[in-house]
Symmetry: C2
Subunit: 340 residues, 2 copies
């Protein structure tokens, strides 16, 4: 079966599901007028037989779907803006949907997508269930992930940036300035982009012969509130760090607020490095030293990958990591006193 | 003709344009396969006869289109997120497109929209040409504007907030604290939302018997860079103001940066009030006193208005202004010295 998925016809599905071809067609194309029960029955047969809808000759809907975590976050909105531009330049419209707090789609999303018949779906820091992935794939709707949440699905090509290197560069910059006590606020442990940054931090310290101090490693969920809370925790210690690698720009703003409320000056008494180089990094006071993530390039690659997946199915398990660089602004300097 | 627009048939259009009904149908539904020349010819007849496509009985595309100025700006992204949520809860998908720098759609947008057959279009700080409005309307695609740019079209219902009151509240707050020299950074002169804020500022000063000083009124385009540049201009004067009403939160961040670079402390040496109450206002250091604009409510109203316009065409010239309130945070206090 897996070898010849296109041999299965809608007539076979109809027969096995004890229904008619027009009804099968409705389910395959996400049209209404079929009971939930019969729909589930047909879907089960579709998956069991490994049916795959042939590519449409005439694109009825030149759409790309985007499922994004926190579309109004500085990160989400910048990625979305770049995808919209890349999609528009390729002649596609962009349908944008927000995810739930667990980085998954809201109920009914996959049915809506099937009904809209887009050429593909871009996931931004999101994940899909296996059932959803199968359903999209049987309709010949392609999937690409940017910074996927959770364990990346092996059958979804993903686009990220060189997170390990970014974490290394950020930490190395602080070490080069003379810092020895360097705290880090890390992202969700189930997200490769955040564990890789932390790993880069650890590697840079080890390379400089600085012992890892677990109490200086603080977890968060990439929210401003985490940066504030963990920043306060780190900076309230008598042996407080002289520098913090806030592994997102939003964390960094939270650390700024923590430092401000404790009367600790940046950069004179505390150096801070962010991550992402969103526009808020330039707007911060002082402007934030941060790791530049090439979001425009990642978005363009995602849109182009969606288009190429039809002709080059071997791309379906590709993983692209785009280069990161350090942008030095005004939030880092030499430590005034080394507390350790 | 205007009295009975539905009496016109596709057959009449075909006859007058010397073509066939299927070709007319293609143009009306935004499908390809018609030369640009013939398309323009048919469009001209459509507009001349005042044809209006009947409402679709079966919504083939449950879509709402959003055209937004700067979709990655803090303002744009928050409004978009609220519209996405409201649209999703009403069972609609959201197609999002960015505008050009002049707040107008990129070429080809209106044809793409007609092809996607959405139920309606929400404009965020954008404007459409009369030709585009007519084209959408003849296809029974409804239009609603949030904070429209330019002179609001009389035939587009719009949703805004009480900008005059917001400007008045912001300025009055500073006067109540004891400030007499209050600068303002205003938005584009061709946008009602910004002229109304400035008018509220003027009214509050006049009500307190404080003379208007034109040199304290500085124009901008709602960008961070304007806040920085105009903030520097205002704060470099020997008779610098003790307070600035930055009529957008992004301006306020620019003013923060200007003050920081000049070594002027906020709020002790300078009070700052923003406008919009975006999340960046809470993240600023110090957290920003600002005018709260009910963006969620505005977005919900826009989505509901799109749905109701079909049944209640009298809404088509409505203008809704939603209440604004002042949120006092840490960027405003009594002036240390009154320089005038």
């Amino acid at each position: 079966m897996p070898g010849k998925p296109r041999a299965v016809t809608q007539a076979e599905i109809a027969k096995q599901a004890s229904t008619t071809v027009p009804t099968v067609s409705k389910v395959l194309n996400g049209r209404p007028g079929v009971s939930d029960e019969l729909r589930a029955q047909i879907e089960a047969v579709v998956q069991r037989l490994g049916y795959q809808q042939p590519a449409r000759k005439q694109q009825s809907a030149r759409l790309i779907e985007v499922l994004c975590y926190e579309i109004d976050s500085p990160f989400g909105s910048e990625v979305v803006a770049h995808i919209e531009q890349a999609a528009r330049q390729s002649g596609f419209g962009m349908v944008l949907t927000g995810s739930n707090a667990d980085n998954r789609p809201h109920p009914g999303w996959v049915d809506d997508v099937v009904g809209r018949q887009p050429v593909g779906v871009v996931l931004i820091a999101c994940r899909l269930s296996e059932a959803d992935r199968k359903m999209l794939r049987s309709r010949n709707i392609r999937i690409v992930a940017i910074d996927p949440a959770g364990t990346p699905a092996p059958d979804i090509p993903s686009i990220g940036s060189a997170d390990w290197k970014g974490g290394y560069l950020a930490t190395r910059h602080l070490i080069d300035l003379g810092h020895r006590r360097i705290g880090i606020i890390t992202g969700p442990a189930d997200m490769m982009a955040s564990t890789a940054r932390q790993s880069g931090y650890t590697a840079a310290l080890e390379a400089a012969g600085i012992p890892i101090e677990p109490s200086l490693i603080r977890p968060g969920q990439f929210h401003h509130a985490d940066g504030l809370a963990e920043g306060l925790a780190l900076l309230s210690r008598p042996d407080r760090p002289t520098a913090i690698f806030a592994s997102s720009d939003l964390y960094a703003l939270g650390v700024y607020e923590a430092a401000r409320s404790l009367g600790i000056g940046i950069p004179d008494e505390l150096s801070v490095v962010g991550y992402d180089d969103l526009r808020i990094a330039q707007w911060a006071g002082p402007p934030l030293t941060t790791v530049h993530v090439p979001l425009a390039r990642m978005a363009q690659d995602a849109v182009h990958l969606i288009q190429r997946l039809g002709e080059e199915p071997e791309l379906s398990s590709s993983r692209t990591d785009i280069e990161t660089t350090l942008v030095v602004r005004a939030s880092t300097t030499v430590p005034t006193k080394v507390s350790n």
